[in-house]
């Protein structure tokens, strides 16, 4: 049951929201419900493995969490059809509404929604996502098989988003917590603490991620939809193909220019350019704290400021981590409350064997927010168009993540130095969106009600 103390009861919150799971094996399965009864039967079978957010005495060997799209929700509770959830969630990320999510995501060209999921199914077909985590490969396989069998018995259709391997989104463990392109990932996440005074909350507090708590911005908060969504959190689930060949070629091609401009050796110039793209060295050291090279002492550092780097000499303005979290950088008044996103991503697909870069690989991104539009889509719009800060002289883009086909975008990349800046005339497309779904990760209570047919 939801807590009556004013704070959420972690036994009622799905663990994925608050806890950064470190299980090395995961699989992210997509499903379409046949009807309310089928959904209830399916969720019932999964409940014994559903992980809540309480501290565990011993790490579970295998566990899962469940998300529902808007179409999934109105299948289990048809009375919630209509304008009860936010427009972004109701329409979904593939909507053709010109004012909808795509006005921020700008998935164009190969990334366009009509190309998602290898055209094997439509985004609207997705009703549920089941995120399965395990300590060993065998544990993962056993639970994935159990989930798949439960779906079959309940008449629930599993949707296979990939063309390779099992067709499922399975985590590929890379060394040292890295992702494709070689960077260490998952360093900086909001602390998700509980504010002593909810009216004086900060964007990284849990009440900006969980639905139903002051200042009541994550919604819905009213009526049956408010009851259904209470203690839930949204998951912008996004699959990116990462073009490792394009990325490595970019570094190879531009390293000689950088080497000449900075008096560095070719390998050092290559590493320097890679760090300038992301804002951290490969090992995770932020450029602000370690401007001259990676340092093991700063590899996981999160306490630093951009205020002293108003010219971008230490970290370029368009570096990915500086775009995704500008911290105390000078931003426009309407963007002054920097939203935070809790990221729970992992790589998928087998590593390439250069010079053979064929095969599908990239990032399974779980971007958790209380409000899809003002948190996830706002930060995404910043990455596609750098117009959120007076520091930008033109509509440049995130150096790694942006879609280069965004209208009016300036795809150049300027790296300020103590001398003349290094200017890359045009950044290539490094990522292709393979698919996106917006899920609500409902409370444990809501999932039990769905299983019981009483949601």
């Amino acid at each position: 049951m939801p807590s009556t103390s004013g704070q959420p009861d972690k036994a009622n919150v799905q663990g994925l929201i608050i806890r950064g799971y470190s299980h090395p094996f995961s699989c992210h399965m997509l499903f379409k419900f046949p009807d309310n009864a089928g959904a209830a039967k399916f969720v019932t079978a999964l409940l014994p493995y559903l992980q809540d957010a309480r501290q565990w005495a011993e790490k579970p060997k295998r566990m899962l969490n469940i998300g529902l799209t808007y179409n999934g929700i109105i299948t289990v509770k048809p009375s919630l059809a209509g304008h009860f959830f936010s427009p972004s969630f109701t329409e979904g990320p593939a909507s053709s509404d010109p004012n909808g999510p795509q006005a921020s995501l700008f998935d164009l060209g190969a990334s366009a929604p009509e190309n998602w999921w290898y055209k094997k199914f439509a985004t609207d077909d997705i009703h549920a996502g089941v995120h399965v985590y395990a300590l060993t490969s065998d544990d993962l396989t056993s639970l994935v098989v159990l989930v798949a069998n439960a779906a079959e018995v309940a008449g629930v259709t599993e949707l296979f988003p990939l063309n390779s391997g099992s067709g499922r989104l399975e985590q590929c463990e890379l060394p040292d917590e890295t992702v494709y392109f070689g960077y260490r990932d998952g360093i900086d996440n909001p602390d998700l603490g509980w504010p002593s005074d909810p009216s004086n909350t900060t964007p990284q507090d849990l009440n900006n991620f969980l639905i139903g708590y002051p200042p009541y911005n994550p919604g819905p908060t009213l009526g049956d939809a408010g009851v259904f969504a209470k203690d839930g959190c949204y998951n912008a689930f996004r699959i990116f193909y990462q073009d490792v060949e394009a990325f490595e070629n970019f570094l190879d091609t531009n390293a000689p220019t950088v080497a000449r401009a900075t008096n560095k050796s070719l390998p050092d110039a290559r590493g320097w350019l890679a760090a300038k793209l992301i804002g951290r060295w490969y090992n995770g050291s932020p450029l602000i704290l370690s401007p001259n090279g990676p340092d093991p002492n700063t590899a996981g550092a999160t306490a630093f400021s951009y205020a002293g780097d108003a010219n971008g000499v230490q970290c370029p303005f368009s570096a990915h981590t500086r775009n995704a979290n500008p911290r105390d950088e000078d931003v426009n008044p309407a963007d002054a409350i920097i939203p935070r996103i809790a990221r729970r991503g992992m790589p998928y697909g087998p590593p390439p064997k250069p010079p053979d870069y064929s095969g599908d690989r990239g990032l399974i991104g779980l971007f958790l927010v209380g409000d899809l539009a003002s948190q996830f889509e706002l930060v995404y719009s910043w990455m596609n168009q750098n117009i959120f800060s007076p520091l930008f002289s033109s509509d440049t883009q995130d150096a790694v993540l942006a879609n280069r086909a965004t209208p009016q975008a300036d795809t150049s990349f300027t790296i300020p130095t103590q001398g003349a800046p290094v200017v890359i005339a045009s950044l290539p497309q490094f990522l292709v969106t393979r698919g996106t779904a917006y899920f609500l990760l409902p409370s444990i209570t809501t999932l039990r009600n769905i299983a019981a047919g009483t949601a």
Partner: protein
């Protein structure tokens, strides 16, 4: 890239609603100016009272604005900015078909705006691509020499 918003809300025809619509129109710019000045996101904004075809009374209120960036991500900013919330809730109360559920939280506000907006980015002609902060910065009053 700027986004147009044309919030079109047909209103009830009873005398009280008609008077309230006129009251909303009178002095709206002055009431919203402090918030708009502070926001530095809106290029232009105006409220139009659309007359009935018969010539008597008000058929609808139409708020026309052009602002920087996409629409949905910035709706929370307007909901949280003093002056705007009351204004939009006031429009919703005038509506011939009042939103259900009523505009009482961010989600219902977002739905009210998107349901009544008649514009989309492709409708907009832009003579310049610069954002409001850039324009203000470029045309800051020059200090007179001492």
């Amino acid at each position: 890239m700027a986004t147009p918003l044309s919030l079109y809300v047909p209103i009830k025809q009873d005398p009280i609603t008609q008077l309230e619509a006129k009251a909303a129109y009178d002095g709206l710019v002055e009431r919203l100016k402090p918030g708009l000045d502070k926001a530095q996101i809106v290029h232009y904004a105006r409220l139009v009272l659309i007359p009935n075809a018969s010539g008597g009374g008000i058929q609808a209120v139409l708020l026309i604005t052009t602002f920087d960036g996409p629409m949905n991500p910035y709706l929370k900013f307007f909901w949280d900015t003093p002056g705007f919330r009351d204004t939009f809730q006031g429009f919703a109360k005038l509506a011939l078909n009042p939103p259900e559920p009523p505009v009482e939280d961010l989600t219902t506000f977002e739905n009210f705006i998107t349901s009544n907006n008649l514009s989309q980015p492709a409708d907009l002609y832009q003579a310049y691509p610069q954002t409001v902060p850039k324009i203000i910065q470029a045309f800051k009053p020059k200090q007179k020499p001492a």
